[in-house]
């Protein structure tokens, strides 16, 4: 089981970056090639810090998007403003997930079938959210519309926080993995 634990991918990427920076970069004289190598080293450094974050953040993103979508659909239905259809389209997409998985995984470089499924679900929820916002914006001015847009705005801010964690801009916090209460 040694290889399953040590060295982990983050260690490998970090050491690769260090070795390339110390032993190869100084030997690269041509300015264009040097710029290319520096950009690659920068990417290796970021990946070494963030390579294992997608599973937990994508799952949290999916849960947050699904919950917010359900709440907005429920509000729209309760106020009899609009018929719920967006969730239907998301469910329809989910039904196709297994079919598309085989194609999705190799194309995107995702090897873990469970993560590939979560990513496919993330894509379907994102599409559904864009359609939902479009529908809400098409409503006449009313309190329901305003509340729904506020909820979407707050959701998009939380999604941006998670993406900031995913790229290493900010540290992952437990709060960000849970849905925030409505402000």
């Amino acid at each position: 089981m040694h290889v399953m634990l040590q060295p982990d991918v983050g260690q490998l990427l970090r050491e690769l970056r260090t070795a390339l920076g110390e032993t190869v970069l100084p030997a690269v004289i041509e300015p264009g090639a040097s710029r290319q190598l520096k950009a690659a080293l920068h990417l290796l450094g970021r990946l070494s810090r963030t390579w294992d974050l997608p599973p937990v953040l994508v799952r949290a993103d999916n849960a947050d998007m699904a919950d917010a979508t359900s709440r907005i659909e429920a509000r729209l239905a309760a106020d009899m403003v609009i018929e719920p259809t967006t969730c239907d389209s998301a469910r329809e997409y989910s039904a196709r997930e297994n079919d598309s998985l085989a194609e999705l995984a190799p194309r995107n470089g995702v090897n873990d079938p469970a993560l590939a499924t979560e990513m496919a679900r993330n894509l379907s929820l994102r599409s559904a959210l864009e359609a939902l916002e479009q529908r809400v914006r098409g409503l006449p001015v009313c309190e329901t519309k305003s509340l729904c847009l506020d909820e979407l705005h707050a959701l998009f801010a939380r999604m941006t926080d998670r993406e900031s964690m995913l790229v290493g801009d900010i540290a992952v916090t437990g709060d960000a993995l849970k849905e925030r209460p409505q402000e």
Partner: protein
């Protein structure tokens, strides 16, 4: 991957001579020499050279640069439009390079290209932002306020740049970037889609419409001995709200804030332009700048992912998107998105 293929220099010199002969009415027997590759940014190949030709008034010698499009750039730029802007500015007291020749289709030089007058100086953004002598960068930043004000006072309406729908120019600029986002994205990004809605919902009325550079920042102006010698890279120039340029200059990645705070820059600009800069409009365009930068990052990232470019600097550009969007949401959430809040 796209591999960069470079033409033979002597053959390239002959092609440039043909282009000068075609484009410069007064040029007799143009001669090109000392052709060499120079760094032209991420999106273009650049060639510096010396040009000479005979005119009725005598021999003319001109240092020139040829900027040639490469595949897989940030945006599909239109060299004809860029050339048109520079031709309109030629002869005016704006620090823009004179337009010399246009190869719109690339039928002479091999790719769509423009030839411009070449100025002395360095465009090194790193040297500007991490200077040995910060006083020089401070002086350059203050001069940039003056140069920007001069550009925005340019009478574009009487220079052949007016179109029938100029009153909608700020909205069209947002719609242009929104379309580029939809065309270039690899997957839906509802937070960014939402921010485009927000921009359209909150679009301020411009106090005036100006010729806006569109990419004015360290790296896109030449400087030498503490003076700005020329503004470069006019491919995003358009008619719009002048606050857009000020906001772009102060994007966090390249902001000269540590040399000259934005408020001081704005006051210097106002004194030169003789017109106030509404701080709320400036704050709005700082949000627009983040959305525009996020869009550029998405396009660059997609270009690498789809093997349209081998430029490694594009490989991880998608990682820049969350930072830009986080700024937007923070400024909007504060509910007081004016200059005091977003200048920090």
């Amino acid at each position: 991957m796209i591999a960069a293929t470079l033409p033979d220099p002597s053959a390239m010199e002959r092609r440039i001579e043909l282009l000068l002969q075609r484009e410069q009415e007064l040029a007799q027997a143009p001669r090109v020499s000392e052709l060499r590759r120079v760094f032209g940014g991420n999106a273009r190949q650049a060639w510096a050279f010396e040009a000479e030709w005979d005119e009725p008034s005598g021999l003319r010698h001109l240092p020139c640069i040829l900027l040639s499009q490469v595949p897989g750039g940030h945006v599909a730029s239109d060299v004809t439009a860029e050339y048109g802007v520079l031709a309109a500015l030629t002869g005016h007291a704006i620090r823009a390079p004179s337009a010399i020749a246009l190869d719109a289709c690339g039928d002479v030089t091999g790719a769509p290209a423009i030839i411009l007058e070449r100025f002395n100086g360095s465009a090194d953004a790193v040297a500007f932002l991490k200077p040995k002598n910060p006083a020089v960068s401070q002086q350059l930043t203050l001069e940039l306020a003056d140069v920007t004000a001069d550009l925005h006072q340019f009478d574009w309406r009487n220079s052949g740049l007016a179109t029938h729908s100029d009153t909608d120019a700020p909205l069209r600029q947002i719609e242009l970037w929104e379309q580029r986002y939809f065309d270039g994205r690899l997957h839906p990004q509802p937070p960014l889609t939402h921010l485009f809605h927000w921009l359209k919902d909150h679009l301020p009325e411009p106090a005036q419409l100006s010729l806006v550079h569109g990419d004015l920042r360290p790296g896109n102006f030449l400087y030498e001995e503490g003076r700005i010698t020329a503004l470069l890279d006019w491919e995003m120039a358009h008619i719009g709200d002048p606050a857009e340029d000020l906001a772009w200059i102060y994007r966090s990645l390249w902001s000269p804030e540590k040399f000259v705070p934005l408020e001081v820059f704005a006051r210097r600009y106002e004194a030169r332009a003789g017109a106030p800069v509404d701080r709320e409009r400036l704050a709005y365009y700082r949000i627009f700048s983040e959305v525009k930068f996020a869009t550029l990052s998405i396009i660059a990232s997609a270009s690498f992912a789809s093997a349209k470019t081998a430029n490694f600097r594009y490989a991880d550009r998608a990682a820049k998107v969350p930072g830009s969007l986080a700024n937007c949401f923070a400024w909007i959430a504060a509910g007081r998105w004016n200059a005091r809040d977003v200048a920090a």
